[in-house]
Symmetry: C2
Subunit: 493 residues, 2 copies
């Protein structure tokens, strides 16, 4: 087969080590120049492919690419965009194919979580359906650690390490001063549907009575009375209480705790997240002085304290993706297989995307203590090696010396700048959508607090021309359905 190019894209929420996977892909591809031409990266993920906005990674030096190993976030940009099925939205797939053909792309490496595994599978089906030779390999990444078939997900180990360390450190602070000051400290962590990240805080404890004293998992229905009793008991016994709460903590009926807050005059939900909610709840009942922290993006970008295991595995799945492609695989995902010995070991295995897509791995019940507020020895044994080892980046003037790529665009070959389909590219930025088209639709009021639940919003049929650069809307203009509109239809406010 003649030499073909590769396309690599980052998808969904970025992590401290997703660039390590990019590094694995690009460095491995460069070792096989006789088989793989250039590696093009999608600018802002799959949107880059749809918009024919490709980055030529061959313009980057070996040192810059190697620097990705120690650089957090998405070096080429990422996005949240899930392709619908081939039947529902063929235009988008046709566009992808058009771009891939134009740039002689035969390998599609998609680096993301569950949704992107699904997209990757569909792209492989596209190849088969149209007879276009395309190998689609998914590279696992998610801090949520919820992909099936792989022992764990690159990105998670580093968040786990960050949260465990932060919990230990903040707890020591509180313990120092609880005599006269803060008695209750709450750390809110990510994890909307699965409690893996919250669980990792449990690693901070090494003996009975150590913090965290209470972990709130989305998997365990929140019961106010049991929780309050445990808080009080803990303060009485130890003088203070450290709580680590998953943003997805919820009542038995599925209502999120973060939802149950104050509203302003306009009926908007209160501003704070879950942590201040819990703090207030405790304050009103017991009067304990409290502090709270919300780690938010700090936790998933904390490359300065990434886990060595995590970095190694992130690189390895990127490397394996290329190896799999070279041996002719398609619709596959390299995964991490834990060795059976007592001492932790891992190797790279493989999983069919048919089995990966749209399945979620929850915390097993036996990882959560009987009272629902802690982790078990089994969880500890699972989590410990994932956060082990310190993969420090280089420093310059006291700060990590993260690389900044040149990200030079591949010259466009197509005349069409975008496809004007029924399904807009989810974007809130006109300027990046090219000269001719822009997407205009209205986000509805968030179902939940956007601050803590950024992925939970509804996109309603377009009822206004919205300048999402400004965020301001001109209401009353009925644009029928969500669509792309030509520039002339856009009123920039």
């Amino acid at each position: 087969m003649p030499k073909r190019n590769a396309f690599y894209a980052q998808s969904g929420g970025v992590t401290a080590v997703i660039n390590a996977s990019a590094c694995g892909v690009i460095e491995t591809a460069r070792k096989h120049r006789s088989q793989i031409g250039k590696v093009y990266a999608g600018r802002n993920g799959i949107i880059g492919a749809l918009q024919e906005d490709l980055i030529d990674t061959s313009k980057e030096s070996a040192a810059a690419i190697h620097g990705l190993l120690t650089t957090p976030a998405g070096a080429f940009g990422s996005c949240r965009h899930k392709l619908k099925s081939l039947q529902e939205n063929p235009a988008e797939y046709e566009r992808l194919l058009e771009v891939f053909k134009a740039h002689n792309i035969g390998y599609f490496f998609y680096n993301g979580g569950g949704d992107s595994a699904d997209t990757c599978l569909k792209v492989s089906q596209l190849g088969q359906a149209t007879g276009y030779p395309l190998q689609a390999i998914h590279i696992p990444k998610t801090i949520d650690n919820d992909l099936p078939l792989t022992d764990n997900c690159p990105g998670f180990g580093s968040v786990a390490k960050y949260i465990a360390i932060s919990t230990r450190e903040a707890a020591m602070d509180v313990a120092s001063m609880c005599e006269t000051s803060t008695k209750v400290f709450i750390l809110e962590v990510m994890g909307r549907h699965a409690g893996w990240i919250a669980a990792a805080s449990g690693l901070a404890a090494t003996q009975k009575g150590d913090a965290p004293h209470i972990i709130l998992f989305p998997e365990i229905a929140f019961d106010r009375d049991t929780f309050m009793a445990k808080v009080q008991r803990t303060v009485k016994r130890h003088g203070y209480c450290v709580i680590v709460a998953s943003e997805g903590a919820q009542y038995k009926d599925g209502t999120f705790l973060a939802e149950s807050g104050l509203k302003d005059a306009f009926g908007h939900s209160q501003l704070g997240g879950l942590a201040p909610q819990l703090a207030q709840m405790i304050k009103l009942e017991f009067g304990y002085k409290y502090h709270w922290a919300v780690a938010d993006y700090l936790q998933r970008s904390a490359r300065h304290i990434a886990s060595q295991t995590d970095v190694d595995q992130a690189y390895a799945v990127g490397e394996a993706a290329v190896t799999f492609a070279l041996r002719g695989d398609n619709a596959i995902m390299p995964c991490i297989v834990r060795g059976k010995g007592k001492r932790y070991s891992w190797s790279i295995g493989e999983a069919s995307l048919e089995d990966v897509a749209n399945r979620e791995k929850k915390m097993p019940r036996n990882y959560i203590s009987r009272d629902g507020f802690g982790i078990t020895d089994a969880a500890n044994a699972y989590l410990t090696p994932l956060s082990a080892g310190e993969a420090y980046p280089g420093y310059r003037k006291g700060l990590p010396n993260y690389v900044r790529l040149k990200n030079i665009s591949v010259p466009r070959k197509l005349k069409t700048r975008s496809n004007c389909s029924d399904e807009p590219y989810i974007t809130t930025n006109f300027s990046r959508l090219g000269q001719d088209f822009a997407c205009c639709y209205l986000y509805t009021a968030p179902r939940l607090n956007l601050a803590t639940n950024p992925h939970e919003f509804e996109v309603k049929p377009c009822i206004a021309i919205v300048s999402l650069i400004d965020g301001a809307a001109t209401p009353g203009m009925d644009c029928a359905q969500r669509k792309f509109f030509c520039r002339q239809h856009i009123i920039v406010l």
Copy 2:
């Protein structure tokens, strides 16, 4: 003079490196066994002295004491308790003297910020007034960096490093995804009266357009319109906007931004801090998707990424305190003197406590950019060396291997357990106040949000017996004034 013991206490908010100062004190004292007997530490700071609750540091191994160099928070406990003047509350000073005499204490090392410098000065005056030979040396510590006469304060450099790194990392995350996701990210940092910590975030930027795009200082009056215009301009130009806000950000009239929030049905202030306030303000105006983080205790306990300069200086001021004591000094504070050369250097100088106590060092105006939203080259030059160098702790199983001292009590020698005075020790915990006495008074509703402004509450005359273990009150019992009460007066609910 016969060999006398030393007393060491930690005061106020703890830091990532206050234990490094403790290490400097204890290791240096151990080198001069012929002159200094034992080093006793106050359990929970000065309260330990008042309650004759002393820790015998000689029971700790050399390895454990050396481990303090890499261990955050207060190894002996700290407290917030400011002694009144000798005239206003002689009982408390008499009690201190009683305890010092009982344990042959001739050296008083007090490790804290501005308030504790004041206390330290008063204790030295006590010695002089009563003819009891006591040398009081203050050891500077404060993340707020607001002590006068020293170039900087131990504790600050490590927070500066943590905030600069966190800003850089989170900003890279936001930049990766702003095309389709979060456009505005807000990080709330400590610093109620001075913007030093917020300023440190400015180190994250190395070229024009880099985050943070906006820093909010307490020193610069917040103007909504100017701020909003800058947010919008930044998003238009760079696609995203990163804001670092000092918790002390305030309007021209002195109202804190954090104060201007929602109230619940009971009139309590809304739960969130400043960051969610700003986020909502921006969201309502522009519709930008946002995220926010509140670092809270994470920032001041982050020993895992402490600055080497900071650790070195924290140790050095502890060491110098002992050296000063041995040469006979009193009412003095070792301070950090910056060398005049282009390359950063520092040495230990000294300042009289008369000149230190109750003076606050604000950010100079020429450290803040003209528009009030950034730092200048002068600030950068000042800050950079303070956060330089990585003083990594040792690790075990993926987590920092922080020491845990035995903290063995010195046998009590006095019959009185506490002094039943008009001025209660500020505490919310009965059990630690000894067997016979407890403090009972009522905290009033916080003037400000306790979450962000933990130090701002009023203590009103006692109007109820309050079990602050439970936080529940038995109202209607008039206890006249704030006092200590015998156990029989306390109703434990």
